[in-house]
């Protein structure tokens, strides 16, 4: 059945047992993002410590795709440098905008490769991206704020290269 390409078992697992769910302290920024066409909502907090995504916590209502995506996203970005996490966001965005034409790299995207099938359903792409966009927005607010505890450089790509070197 074609549905199985969207509702991969990994997605349903994350949906039933979401990781890192619930709003936690401490945090540097909190955002609320909505998907007005379907009513999905997410409230998301980030904590940045020394240029690293120390924690991402969230609470929200939404379909299995949006909820599972939030769970997978937190698994991927927590503990990463901002630069690495932003690179993952770009990679995931490219996958979701690919209409099923991109073969995802499991070494990079891990569980998020399960969303490749969702990219074939234009109406659902926004669901999968909701939490990623919220995380990116919240992180950007921390990075852009001069008073932020993170004190990260605005260009996330520089530390990323340092780390990989």
């Amino acid at each position: 059945m074609k549905l199985d390409s969207m509702y991969q078992e990994i997605i349903l697992d994350h949906y039933r047992n979401p990781h890192h769910r619930g709003l936690r302290e401490p945090f540097d920024a909190e955002v609320h993002h909505v998907n007005p066409t379907c009513g999905d909502e997410v409230t998301l907090r980030v904590k940045i410590v020394d240029d690293t995504v120390a924690d991402v916590s969230y609470e929200g209502e939404g379909c299995s795709i949006s909820q599972a995506s939030a769970s997978v996203m937190t698994d991927l970005v927590i503990g990463k440098s901002i630069g690495d996490a932003m690179a993952l966001e770009r990679e995931f965005l490219a996958l979701m905008q690919s209409r099923g034409t991109v073969e995802p790299d499991e070494d990079v995207l891990e569980d998020a490769i399960a969303f490749a099938g969702v990219s074939k359903y234009p109406a659902r792409v926004k669901c999968a991206l909701l939490s990623w966009m919220a995380w990116k927005d919240a992180t950007a607010q921390v990075v852009d704020s001069p008073a932020a505890g993170g004190g990260a450089a605005p260009e996330g790509s520089v530390p990323e290269q340092e780390k990989q070197a």
Binding site: Y7, L12, T37, C38, G39, E61, G62, Q67, Y121, C127
Partner: protein, 436 residues
């Protein structure tokens, strides 16, 4: 409510033959089960033919030019106005203004109120300012809420609303308090697009008249499904849209009482809506042209006229009474069948009294956990069943009932009880799919 007893029965299988799209297969070999008519209706061949014929034989701009085509196009466009006027019981064809859709029709009235400040004493009834009140209901589509919010922001007037009862009806217990001497305009939905509720417009209009307020009705979901007589309702303005009543997209209607339209400030300025123009100032054409700036939606109006003819001629001329009777039977069947689905909860009236065929619901899985409407809709779509999911442009209703979104199945003259049964089976498949 219209008495539907003794109305000739609609032969739904015959009706379906008029709608080419209903023969379509989706996802390979699944027959289309279209249960999203509240979003937009399908179109009968007669409407498609009318638009094609207009372009193939008569296309020209209207109200200008003296050549044959221009005269034919004008006659067709204005004939559509006559048909629409008769269809909703308008006593005067000049009371029918063509707009783009219901939203534009409602905005037209809302902007008349704020434009009144720049007009003379004739526009007194449309003048609005701090201390004045505008009343809507909690079950409005955003198109009949946001324009009034914006109007209140522009003028300093206060927005108030009638609330909802737990069973999805309009709460009229404080009607006399909410609609009071300060109320200048009451704008309300006739039939809710999310709850299906048919509201007691005449009762609210009677109270509005007592306090001298104008009454605007959003009939987007009633005109396609019920016999509507704007005069009998006792209202001042009535908006509806063509595409939900088997007509094309891009054409809507504002009906308004002539004496009001004649003093109502215009909304959009431009060609066609003027009388005399100088570099300094202009005077305006009488209604309806005063409100139809620019080249209108000609082929769409012709298509809407064809839709009106089609609906009027159904069941040997029983027309909308037969449509209403058919949909009432469908709604009773659907409410009964949906009540059998485990974990299903209807948001809106659970009986078919004063209720149309748009049914919103929530579904829970075998583990009792809610299955999000988006997921419900996706699995139904896989089976060829088209429903709408989300907040249906009526987010305040979702907030009122504490739900993030709903799944909505909605019917029309071509819907069969078999399709409703397919929905019930489809929902069982949804519960199996998301069964833990």
């Amino acid at each position: 409510m219209t008495d539907l007893a003794g109305v000739p029965e609609l032969d739904v299988e015959l009706v379906r033959k008029d709608f080419p799209i209903l023969d379509r297969m989706v996802h390979g070999d699944k027959p289309l089960v279209y249960l999203d008519s509240a979003a937009t209706s399908q179109k009968p061949r007669a409407v498609l033919d009318a638009e094609r014929e207009y372009y193939e034989l008569h296309n020209a701009n209207v109200h200008r030019g003296i050549h044959v085509l221009a005269e034919e196009a004008t006659a067709l466009y204005e004939a559509a106005r006559d048909k629409v006027a008769a269809f909703v019981g308008a006593p005067d064809r000049h009371e029918v203004v063509f707009t783009k859709n219901s939203s534009e029709a409602l905005n037209l009235v809302a902007y008349a109120f704020s434009n009144a400040a720049a007009h003379g004493p004739e526009a007194e009834r449309f003048r609005l300012g701090p201390g004045d009140q505008v009343v809507v209901t909690e079950m409005e589509h955003h198109s009949n809420l946001v324009p009034w919010q914006m109007l209140c922001q522009r003028t300093g007037a206060t927005l108030r609303w009638l609330g909802l009862t737990d069973d999805g009806r309009l709460d009229l217990s404080n009607l006399d308090e909410v609609v009071n001497e300060r109320t200048k305009v009451v704008s309300m939905v006739h039939q809710s697009n999310i709850l299906g509720t048919v509201n007691p417009v005449a009762a609210v209009a009677a109270r509005a008249r007592e306090v001298g307020a104008l009454v605007v009705v959003d009939g987007s979901q009633s005109v396609p499904h019920l016999p509507v007589d704007v005069t009998a309702l006792g209202v001042d303005f009535f908006a509806f849209t063509g595409h939900k009543m088997c007509g094309p997209t891009g054409i809507g209607v504002l009906w308004g009482r002539r004496e009001l339209l004649e003093v109502m400030p215009p909304f959009l300025g431009g060609g066609e809506m003027i009388e005399l123009v100088t570099m300094e100032a202009s005077t305006y054409a009488p209604p309806p042209h005063r409100f139809e700036a620019g080249t209108p939606m000609i082929s769409q109006a012709v298509g809407l006229g064809a839709a009106v003819d089609y609906l009027t001629g159904l069941a040997g001329g029983a027309g909308m009474a037969a449509v209403a009777a058919h949909e009432h039977a469908l709604t009773e069947h659907a409410l009964r069948r949906l009540a059998e689905v485990p974990g299903l909860r209807i948001i809106g009236p659970t009986d078919a009294v004063d209720r149309g065929g748009a049914i919103s619901f929530l579904l829970a899985g075998k583990d009792g956990r809610a299955i999000h409407p988006h997921d419900v809709g996706q699995v139904l779509d896989e089976q060829g069943i088209a429903v709408r999911v989300g907040h249906h442009c009526a987010r305040p209703v979702c907030l009122r009932y504490g739900v993030p979104a709903t799944t909505r199945a909605s019917f029309h003259l071509y819907t069969t009880t078999g399709e409703i049964d397919a929905l019930v089976e489809g929902l069982a498949a949804v519960r199996r799919f998301f069964g833990a």
